[in-house]
């Protein structure tokens, strides 16, 4: 059961050892994230998504980043390398492969460092074994997943299928729609995933190319300020100790002992990881403007429910439908996939008669997720879908909705 947590006046909780106002070695002022995120003046910048990642990391008081920039890649990892050269990131190096990178990130995090890396597509899958290991070891590493195709024949274009593989790793999984989301959530993500009752890795996903390679206006705070450093003494597990779990379990696993208690401990361990995902809800609210979803015009009988850049395409489809056909449609933007906003979506869709879920992947995993939590889920239409790097013109969503309503007219595919 996923319970909705009320926003109230929630604030980001800080470690008692944080010394606000102190200067970093680069002269940045350590600032209360509640002030930095919500009260501090911002200025507009026109940046690519990769440049936005650099801008966020510059303010993230980051200890370690490990990169495996396979060609073709987004510029993000290379731009973090520039920050290392400038002294904003304390350690930075190139791993031997995506798998090695994620293992090296784990090592740094076990040692008490704040760690950030990026990956995408086949890289995400090659590194996959590490993600449940991170979660099981309660390592609050942040990985920015700039989603792209994963299957042969390979594609460097956006496709969100890799997110489906991440859903039950025990990581927090968020899906940014815009470069602004990406910027705000990188910084806020550290604050959520490092809470002692959460202390889990975060997969911050965005749609590759559409977000990483295109320019957008992003509101940034001054880079004279940064968030407080990570406090490893709040970790729910001891720092790395070869005799204690989880390290002890890696060389002497419970499951090697064939008895009920060993199995029970392992099962309880898994439950605790997913309990920690649930606990992240209330810490995420101050980062995501008070809710894990965003809604527009819920009084309408037709809704588009989406995440990532499918939300942007949905917005434009809603405008076209209203202006050209007089058809009124509402919108639900899902920001967090894990934890999943079950109660929020139930409430938001309570009056909808038809729910469309456009997705940038062939299987429609988000539609499955939504169908699994709704009563009368025949209301949910899983589509439209595109995949393998195809764009999703807003007209495709318009066509899908018109077709469902039986509204006649020329369809997009007829244009050739």
């Amino acid at each position: 059961m996923n319970k909705k947590v009320e926003a109230q006046d929630r604030r980001i909780l800080l470690s008692e050892t944080v010394e606000l106002g102190e200067k970093t070695n680069k002269g940045q002022t350590v600032t209360d994230p509640n002030v930095l995120f919500n009260e501090m003046e911002r200025e507009a910048s026109f940046l690519t998504g990769s440049e936005v990642i650099r801008a966020a990391i510059k303010r993230a008081n980051l200890d370690v980043s490990v990169a495996y920039p396979i060609t073709p890649q987004s510029e993000a990892a290379a731009l973090i390398g520039e920050l290392y050269a400038e002294g904003y990131v304390r350690e930075y190096f190139r791993g031997e492969s995506e798998f090695a990178v994620m293992g090296q990130c784990a090592g740094a995090s076990f040692g008490g460092a704040r760690v950030f890396t990026t990956t995408a597509g086949p890289g995400t899958l090659r590194a996959m074994e590490n993600f449940p290991m991170w979660a099981g070891s309660r390592l609050p590493i942040q990985v920015c997943v700039t989603c792209r195709g994963i299957n042969s024949p390979l594609s460097i274009q956006p496709d969100t299928l890799e997110m489906y593989y991440l859903l039950e790793t025990g990581m927090l999984v968020w899906h940014a729609e815009t470069a602004q989301d990406l910027y705000d959530w990188i910084l806020g993500g550290f604050m959520v995933s490092e809470q002692p009752d959460v202390h889990l890795p975060l997969a911050l996903c965005c749609d590759g190319f559409f977000v990483t390679h295109t320019k957008d206006t992003v509101m940034l705070q001054s880079d004279e300020y940064c968030i407080p450093a990570y406090d490893p003494y709040r970790s729910p597990v001891p720092c790395m100790d070869m005799e204690c779990p989880p390290i002890r379990m890696m060389r002497d696993p419970f499951i090697m002992k064939s008895n009920y208690i060993s199995y029970m401990t392992h099962a309880s361990w898994q439950q605790e990881i997913h309990a920690a995902v649930e606990r992240s809800r209330k810490h995420t609210l101050p980062i995501m403007n008070g809710s894990l979803i965003e809604t527009e015009n819920l009084d309408r009988e037709i809704l588009i429910v989406a995440s990532g850049t499918a939300v942007s395409q949905g917005r434009e489809a809603i405008r076209l439908l209203e202006e050209e056909e007089g058809i009124k449609v509402g919108l639900v933007k899902i920001k967090s996939i894990r934890p999943f906003p079950t109660e929020e979506i139930r409430e938001a869709t309570a009056n909808a008669k038809t729910i469309f879920i456009p997705e940038f992947n062939i299987k429609g995993w988000l539609a499955r997720e939504v169908k699994s939590i709704l009563s009368n889920n025949e209301r949910v239409i899983a589509g439209p879908h595109v995949a393998g790097g195809m764009t999703m013109p807003s007209e495709v969503i318009v066509d899908e909705i018109k077709k469902s309503l039986g509204v006649a007219g020329p369809r997009l595919e007829s244009r050739g």
């Binding site: 059961m1 729910p236 401990t265 309990a275 649930e278 606990r279």
Partner: protein, 211 residues
């Protein structure tokens, strides 16, 4: 669906985590009693009455207070001993988190991987977890709820534990003293400890000190 309550077990072969059943942790200044969020002030007396009403009240101090990492840990350890003497309650240490093979010595230690063995062996009906890393505490609390009828109280220095039957958060030296003071106040008001007589064992790094 009715609101889940975090009650003593035995609950199930594999009970759910309380968080997965919709139980949320208290915010600063709050505690939870069986999953219900209450003002922290209310929780002191509730905990004190539970402890005084128990036949085998027991405190499980974990490594964060058993070892002198810093002066604060040492002061907390002393305060915990005063709390144990006030009730009175047994002290059974959770010195670290290593699985113990072939078996633990249940009268002398508790381990997060099979805490039920210590609860069963000593017939513990109310216990306090304190100074245990949060992940390990949650693991143990859930296993205890699954297989025993022990009422669990968590005194957590961080965000609290929804897998305990009741939980404080942000526990400091002052808050430990406050629980001790509440126990003493209730005793002065006539609430009698129901604890069965016992002799507290003592341990060194080498094991039990006889005599």
């Amino acid at each position: 669906m009715e609101q889940y309550q975090v009650l003593p077990g035995p609950e199930a072969f594999l009970p759910p985590s309380a968080a997965s059943m919709g139980i949320t942790l208290p915010d600063p200044g709050e505690a939870h009693i069986e999953g219900r969020i209450v003002d922290e002030e209310e929780a002191y007396e509730y905990a004190a009455r539970k402890l005084l009403g128990a036949k085998v009240p027991t405190i499980f101090p974990g490594p964060l207070v058993l070892w002198k990492w810093n002066e604060k840990a040492a002061k907390k350890a002393k305060a915990i001993r005063e709390l144990a003497e006030a009730m009175p309650a047994r002290l059974i240490p959770m010195a670290d988190y290593r699985p113990k093979y072939p078996k633990i010595i249940a009268e002398l230690e508790i381990n997060p991987n099979h805490p039920n063995l210590t609860i069963w062996h000593n017939k513990i009906d109310v216990c306090i977890f304190i100074g245990v890393h949060c992940h390990q505490a949650n693991l143990a609390l859930k296993i205890i709820r699954g297989g025993t009828d022990c009422y669990t109280i968590a005194m957590c220095a961080q965000a609290g534990h929804e897998d305990a039957c009741m939980s404080f958060r942000d526990i400091s030296l002052e808050k430990i003293h406050k629980l001790t003071a509440t126990v003493n106040k209730l005793k002065k008001e006539g609430v009698k400890s129901q604890a069965e007589p016992f002799t507290q064992f003592k341990m060194s790094r080498q094991g039990r000190i006889e005599g």
